[in-house]
């Protein structure tokens, strides 16, 4: 099972490997949620939803259900 943004822990960084799901809004892609770009989890609301991310230098928050559609590789530091 590949990891998704929903699996990230606070402070972890990852590389996006796939964001082609039909249910990901185009707006998110335009903000830089594209394969190859980096994503960092900055903050989570209670119940880990929504989550606050830095994707490709854009700061934004999305819901867990959307985050679970974006596949990633965690960057180990």
């Amino acid at each position: 099972m590949p990891l998704t943004i929903a699996d990230l822990k606070k402070g972890e960084r990852a590389t996006i490997i796939d964001s082609s799901s039909e249910d990901i809004p185009l707006k998110l892609l335009e903000m830089g949620c594209l394969p190859g770009n980096e994503v960092e989890l900055l903050q989570v609301a209670p119940f880990h939803d929504p989550i606050y991310l830095n994707i490709n230098d854009s700061y934004l928050a999305i819901r867990k259900e959307t985050a679970a559609l974006i596949l990633i590789d965690i960057i180990n530091e």
């Binding site: 990901i24 609301a45 934004l60």
Partner: protein, 699 residues
């Protein structure tokens, strides 16, 4: 006659586009509506030089040319329509220096429409703090444009921008991206089908129509062109986005260096507290308390002043033009009372918009949305519903318009439907006067009963909004997917000029929009109360004198006036509805107030003021409406305003849908009469039942 240069200001949200607009136009701006839709149209005039002027149109913020909301759609419709009178001679793209990469996406799209384009890099004052340096010459070359480095905060670079606008003819219209490289096969067939058309424009039209329904574009006939399915189009849009980012990354690699070690960001520190699982909510709660304190406590000082000023003005008019001609009375009792009823809202509206615009400008509002999303979702709402629900405490109209950025239709619809339950400022004068009449003075834990009653009414409003959202969430079925993306802008100290202009503009809109209705109703009411059909009204003096031969002087006058009112047009209407409202504890005069309130709630107090000032000769004690209301008695001598009838009336106003303007806005935003009608009948039914129960229990 010199021609004006048409300028369109375009940019992502949170880039300070409005600050640039304000810097260019100052007070030479106005806000209107695009025909047929409720998107704000902000335009202004900017003087360049030698009598050359620019007409600046501030378009709604958008992330790209792929519109997902009505506001964004406005941008595309304008840029695709060369015949529009506002079609820009030059487009000014405002970008944020901290997020040039993402901002350039929109820039490249506009540029590819072959519109002369200037790039404004705003917030230049933040560059050194973020460790950013830019090679402007190189960027200008690579992007084929002219760049103005602007700091609206320090008022730098606006002169350069004006120069560039004036010399817009020198700008290159070379596109950034060869459209056909997105998908060679598809775009080649498109080119063959429409050999005379610009390829990128065609593509925008196609992807646009897929989202927003076909618009009649007479020069293009797509009937013979086999287009792609929606999901295929989305895949192409994704490919386009990737291509554009490749281009932008290439440009920025050479033109921009970021020294991360020099970057000092307050974002992380602020976020640690403001979005904290515990502190975040506590801080938000205290901010809300401060807002309410301002609206109810601080605003009361200027409001009392306005109230007494208008009362003296009406007296002055009556005293200055004695004889009491019809016109004098119309002005003193109808017009002045009506205008006073509007002006008195200004302090509250101004305070509310002051807070909202400071919270928006500072970037804090997005954090609230983040904190509240999960909680709100439980009730079928979105985190983004918080802004409309707070704005709703000023006025439901801007609040309902503020729901547009809620992506999910169901969440947006529920927000629209329940927002009118929040206590808008129009209910306030009704609450204030009834509370003053029926809630005893006295303190509980240092808080006055009257203040507690007011707070309780607010909580009831919010409670009802959330409760009905929960019910609607269970009832409404939808198969549309919900999604939610919100940008978290960096924290900024709000610019005074922006805040001041927002407050000014919102207050003005409220006064003129609501004012027109209130004024018109006040005049109609006065006329209806001052004339009546039949001999009972016209022979009032004789009838009263015959019935009560013992009455003299002032008492007689009062009796005559009351008798006239009862048989005036308005009295007849009031008497007709009295049986329906009697069980709630109201008399026919309150009934008139309620009926006129369906136009706008704030009319209630004005209506009673008009009815009572027409209905009695003035004593000195009776000058204020409150005193007159306190003296009102039923036919059997019981007081009209008791605790039971007062609470019943408060609850009625808390729940009833009494605002034509809100209904009109809901109709426009939902594009059907179905939802406003559900609001009107549903809310009013709830109001009637609750008020009935309250009165019957308390009485």
């Amino acid at each position: 006659m010199s021609k004006q240069i048409n300028v369109a200001l375009i940019g992502n949200p949170n880039t300070g586009k409005t600050s640039v607009f304000n810097a260019l136009t100052g007070l030479n701006q106005k806000v209107g509506n695009y025909p047929g839709i409720t998107v704000d149209k902000k335009e202004g005039i900017c003087k360049l030089s030698r009598g050359v002027k620019a007409h600046i149109l501030d378009l709604p913020g958008t992330y790209s040319l792929n519109a997902s909301s009505l506001d964004e759609n406005v941008v595309i419709e304008l840029l695709l329509n060369k015949n529009d009178k506002d079609y820009p001679d030059v487009a000014v793209i405002v970008s944020d220096v901290e997020n040039l990469k993402r901002n350039l996406l929109l820039f490249t799209q506009i540029k590819d429409l072959k519109i002369p384009t200037i790039l404004v890099i705003n917030m230049a004052d933040r560059m050194s703090r973020k460790g950013i340096s830019l090679d402007i010459k190189l960027l200008e070359n690579k992007l084929n444009t002219k760049i103005a480095l602007v700091s609206t905060r320090k008022n730098e670079g606006i002169g350069d921008l004006k120069n560039l606008i004036e010399n817009h003819k020198l700008l290159s219209t070379q596109p950034c991206l060869d459209t056909s490289t997105i998908d060679t096969e598809y775009f080649n067939s498109l080119k063959q089908a429409f050999p005379n058309q610009d390829l990128y424009k065609l593509w925008v039209v196609i992807s646009q129509d897929a989202n927003f329904g076909k618009i009649d574009r007479n020069e293009l006939d797509f009937s013979k062109f086999k287009t792609k399915s929606k999901s295929e189009l989305k895949r192409l849009q994704q490919k386009e986005t990737i291509k554009r980012y490749q281009f932008i990354n290439g440009v920025l690699k050479e033109g921009q260096t970021i020294d991360a070690t020099k970057a000092t960001g307050l974002r992380a520190q602020f976020d640690r507290i403001l979005t904290h699982k515990v502190w975040g909510y506590i801080i938000f709660f205290f901010i809300l308390l401060t807002i309410f304190q301002a609206i109810y406590d601080w605003a009361s000082v200027p409001m009392d002043f306005i109230d007494s000023s208008f009362a003296s003005l009406a007296d002055w008019i009556k005293a200055s033009f004695p004889g009491g001609g019809k016109l004098t009375n119309l002005i003193a009792e109808g017009v002045v009372a009506g205008i006073g009823g509007i002006v008195i809202f200004i302090p509250q509206i101004a305070f509310l918009f002051l807070f909202i615009s400071v919270l928006e400008e500072s970037g804090y509002m997005s954090r609230v949305v983040f904190l509240m999303d999960r909680v709100m979702r439980r009730f079928g709402l979105s985190g983004k519903s918080v802004v409309p629900l707070i704005s709703g405490t000023a006025c439901a109209i801007p609040a309902i318009m503020a729901t547009r950025n809620i992506e999910s239709w169901k969440e947006r619809l529920i927000t629209i439907l329940v927002t009118p339950f929040t206590t808008c400022s129009a209910r306030l004068p009704v609450y204030l006067i009834i509370i003053a009449l029926v809630i005893p003075e006295g303190r509980f834990l240092g808080l006055s009963y009257q203040a507690l009653a007011l707070m309780l009414l607010y909580l009831i409003g919010f409670g009802m909004a959330v409760f009905s959202a929960y019910i609607l969430d269970k009832i409404l079925k939808t198969n549309r997917k919900t999604f939610f993306v919100i940008e978290m802008p960096s924290y900024k100290v709000p610019l005074f000029k922006n805040v001041a202009l927002t407050v000014l503009e919102k207050t003005k809109t409220f006064v003129f929009e609501a004012g027109r209705i209130i004024l018109a109703i006040s005049i109609v009411l006065w006329i209806m109360a001052s004339y009546g059909p039949g001999k009972e009204f016209n022979n009032a003096e004789t009838i009263v004198e015959q019935t009560y031969p013992e009455l003299q002087g002032e008492q007689l006058e009062n009796k005559v006036a009351a008798y006239k009112l009862e048989h005036s047009f308005i009295g007849i209407v009031g008497k007709a509805i009295e049986p329906a409202i009697r069980p709630l504890g109201y008399d026919w005069k309150i009934g008139i107030g309620i009926v006129t309130s369906f136009a706008a709630r704030e009319v209630f107090v004005g209506t009673l003021a008009t009815i009572y000032s027409v209905g009695s000769a003035l004593d000195d004690d009776d000058k204020t409406i409150k005193n007159r209301m306190a003296k009102e008695v039923h036919d059997n001598g019981d007081k009209v305003f008791t605790l039971a009838s007062g609470i019943s009336l408060l609850l009625f106003y808390a729940f009833a849908m009494q605002c034509m303007s809100t209904l009109a806005i809901v109709k426009r935003e939902t594009n059907t009469w179905k939802w406003p009608m559900i609001q009107l009948f549903g809310m009013s039914l709830i109001a009637y039942v609750v008020a009935l129960i309250a009165f019957q229990i308390l009485n």
